[in-house]
């Protein structure tokens, strides 16, 4: 029996490393410590409402849910309420989806659960993707918006944070294809700043990190509660396991 189980485990171990990577530009790691930093989440909410909510909606996210990251109804009303006048409303966009489709070729998606939907098995979390996306925009005059992106090639969205980051060009080199003899591949070889932004590189990364932290939080506003409750439940169950184990043993001691 043990041998059987061991061979099963061995089979699993063989199966796992064979995981195919989907390819494409590899994702950077989102600094997860931002998730527990309330100032970051609040700053992310500010950037989100100012830069994203003009075109995108987050219809399932009510403004007053921001209470959970330490913003009072008054603060929300004064600083963040641009698209409605009631804090109990969802974060709707003012953009007409039909016009948006004419302008960008596609309607901007709702962002309520964007961070959850963009994860990929073997590649990273949705937050990793978004963090990479916001750090890999570059000028590309062949595109209708004048912008392109490494994490999302041919993206329909222009660089909404370009004033913060400034304009950059992407350098590409022709390199030998490692898989096919005699062929070359178009390989990314770094960015080149054209015009400066209002933020330094470091400040920009921090700002984007805050924005992504907010998006990740907004995907599941109860995630903090979930983990807190989970810890309590596990502590209770650990005690329960100990009690039931001894209870069972006490009964079975008399069975011969």
């Amino acid at each position: 029996m043990k041998k059987l189980l061991l061979s099963l485990l061995a089979a699993f171990a063989f199966a796992l490393p064979a995981h195919a990577n989907e390819g494409g530009y590899p994702w950077d790691r989102f600094p997860v410590t931002k998730m527990t930093d309330q100032a970051s989440l609040q700053n992310g909410a500010r950037i989100f409402v100012n830069y994203c909510l003009n075109c995108h909606s987050a219809a399932y996210m009510r403004y007053n849910r921001l209470n959970a990251i330490g913003l009072s109804d008054d603060e929300i009303r004064k600083n963040l309420l641009f698209t409605t006048d009631k804090v109990g409303e969802g974060m709707k966009s003012v953009l007409d989806p039909r016009q948006a489709k004419d302008w960008f070729g596609t309607a901007p998606p709702d962002l309520s659960v964007i961070a959850r939907s963009r994860a990929e098995i073997g590649k990273g979390t949705g937050a990793d993707y978004l963090y990479t996306l916001w750090r890999t925009f570059y000028r590309d005059d062949t595109k209708p918006t004048g912008w392109n992106n490494l994490a999302f090639p041919d993206i329909a969205m222009p660089h909404a944070l370009w004033q913060l980051q400034g304009e950059r060009r992407a350098k590409f080199v022709e390199a030998k294809d490692p898989h096919e003899e005699g062929k070359t591949v178009h390989r990314f070889a770094g960015f080149e700043q054209i015009t400066p932004g209002t933020l330094s590189d470091l400040q920009y990364d921090e700002a984007v990190g805050d924005l992504v932290a907010y998006l990740q939080w907004m995907g599941e506003p109860s995630q903090g509660t979930r983990i807190r409750v989970g810890v309590g439940v596990l502590i209770f169950l650990a005690l329960f396991v100990a009690v039931t184990w001894r209870l069972s043993a006490a009964y079975w001691r008399t069975v011969h």
Partner: protein, 466 residues
């Protein structure tokens, strides 16, 4: 009319009430038959907890399902939003939803292990054939329940998964297109599909499922549980007529199972509270995008518990159909030459084989893929009659039988893994071999299960006291 009993003089109110009830309903009798005087073998090992755990998960799914139904909207325009409403605005809605979604995966893990226990110890053998058949019915219901439930969140995977699976029915010759139309209620998966799947998911299938669970338990308690030695405990009884190797289910197995339940809940909570998406396998990432009939995802994969069967479907290419035809023809020739059948039987085999090969080459490989996928589940129903080994338990089978079981499990897991991946040439060959191993395991069982040197089976169970 049955004889009326009276409570002894001076009995308490509880005793008198119980007597009153027992005169009208077999309460004490049922309790004795199924709990206090239901004798279960005392040598159960850890494999025997999954039945109770399956019952626990079933109850949990029903209870959480009731609460989800209070807030969910089975409407193509509102379904996705109503799930997010449950996750955000319904107090503790996120917990109920995660319990239900994690519970679905937990149900399959527990049921797969429960079934594998049956494989290991021959729990489906005489006299437990009906226990096994009801169990297979439960497994089928569970698959229907999971498939239809997965459409309800109305995400991209919900939508396209349902589209792919319902389209499979259109591969059935002659009636296929009408059949898939009947299932969908529309020409594409849409609001009509969502409404009927909701109806099936919350009432029709659960009703059948509960009936089958009751039948499964009644049949089990009629014949008594098997055990890791595959020895019938009813063969050795004490002076009072109770099995000497048996032990009353209550309290011994109730406390034992409560212990198992607490361990299970610990592991379940680890996933539920700290990884409710199950790494993208329990809740697929694409399913956080609302269903869009105009945008087909690049890679459509069913949820993990269906992937072994999905792999078998994808493995059934034209090449595979040719291989099946050759295997069938060779099998028929072998049976005619070496089977020792009567002349009339030989002619029948030849006719059936020729017709079968003809049909294989006539219909589309897609149809045979559906047959293979359905057959992979239906073949389980025949297990009690396929196994011809002289002993029940793997403990007393030849050692190499364990390797056969191990190979079966390894290929089943490999099929499951490949079914979750985008198709690849190498992967497809492995799934084709896996499909042949899966069916070979069952169809050749009447032959291989008899071979080898079996170990002597003891008269009594082996039990070391705790």
């Amino acid at each position: 009319m049955a004889e009326m009993h009276t409570a002894p003089a001076g009995a308490g109110a509880g005793q008198r009430l119980l007597t009153w009830v027992d005169n009208r309903f077999p309460l004490s009798k049922l309790y004795d038959e199924h709990m206090a005087k239901y004798y279960a073998p005392k040598n159960f090992n850890v494999w025997y907890v999954f039945g109770s755990l399956a019952l626990l998960v079933l109850v949990m799914q029903i209870l959480t399902g009731i609460f989800l139904t209070m807030h969910y909207k089975p409407d193509a325009a509102k379904a996705f939003g109503s799930v997010e409403y449950i996750m955000r605005d319904v107090p503790w809605g996120w917990l109920v939803r995660y319990m239900h979604s994690t519970g679905a995966s937990a149900f399959f893990i527990v049921i797969y292990l429960h079934m594998f226990r049956g494989f290991l110890y021959g729990s489906y053998r005489k006299p437990r054939e009906l226990v096994w058949l009801f169990g297979c019915g439960i497994f089928l219901c569970l698959m229907a329940e999971a498939f239809m439930g997965y459409l309800l969140p109305w995400g991209q995977m919900s939508y396209w998964g349902a589209q792919v699976i319902v389209n499979l029915f259109s591969a059935v010759p002659f009636i296929g297109p009408d059949l898939s139309l009947l299932i969908r209620g529309d020409y594409v998966v849409g609001d009509a599909t969502l409404n009927r799947f909701f109806s099936f998911h919350v009432i029709a299938v659960p009703l059948v499922l509960l009936g089958l669970v009751a039948a499964h338990l009644i049949a089990l308690h009629e014949v008594g549980s098997n055990n890791p030695d595959g020895v019938e405990i009813k063969d050795s009884k004490d002076a009072k007529g109770n099995p000497v190797d048996g032990i009353p289910f209550h309290p011994y197995y109730t406390v034992h199972d409560i212990y198992a339940v607490s361990v299970f809940l610990f592991i379940f909570s680890l996933v539920l509270f700290f990884a409710p998406e199950g790494g993208g396998y329990f809740l697929e990432f694409n399913n956080f995008i609302e269903a869009n009939p105009l945008k087909t995802p690049l890679h459509i994969a069913p949820v993990w518990y269906f992937t072994p069967y999905y792999s078998m479907l994808r493995a059934t290419t034209d090449l595979m159909v040719n291989v099946l035809a050759i295997i069938l023809a060779l099998g028929a020739v072998m049976a005619i030459l070496r089977g020792g059948f009567r002349a009339s039987a030989k002619i029948a085999i030849a006719v059936v084989a020729i017709v079968a090969v003809f049909l294989l080459k006539t219909f589309d490989a897609k149809f045979w893929g559906v047959v293979v996928m359905g057959g992979a589940v239906m073949i389980l129903f025949f297990l009690p009659w396929l196994d011809r080994s002289p002993v029940k338990s793997i403990r007393y089978r030849p050692d190499w039988h364990k390797l056969v079981y191990a190979a079966f499990v390894v290929f089943f897991l490999a099929l499951g893994y490949l079914g979750s991946q985008p198709p690849s040439t190498a992967g497809n060959y492995v799934s084709q071999i896996g499909t042949l191993v899966y069916f070979g395991f069952f169809l050749l069982m009447p032959w291989w299960s008899r071979l080898g040197t079996f170990k002597p089976v003891p008269n009594r169970v082996t039990f070391a006291s705790h």
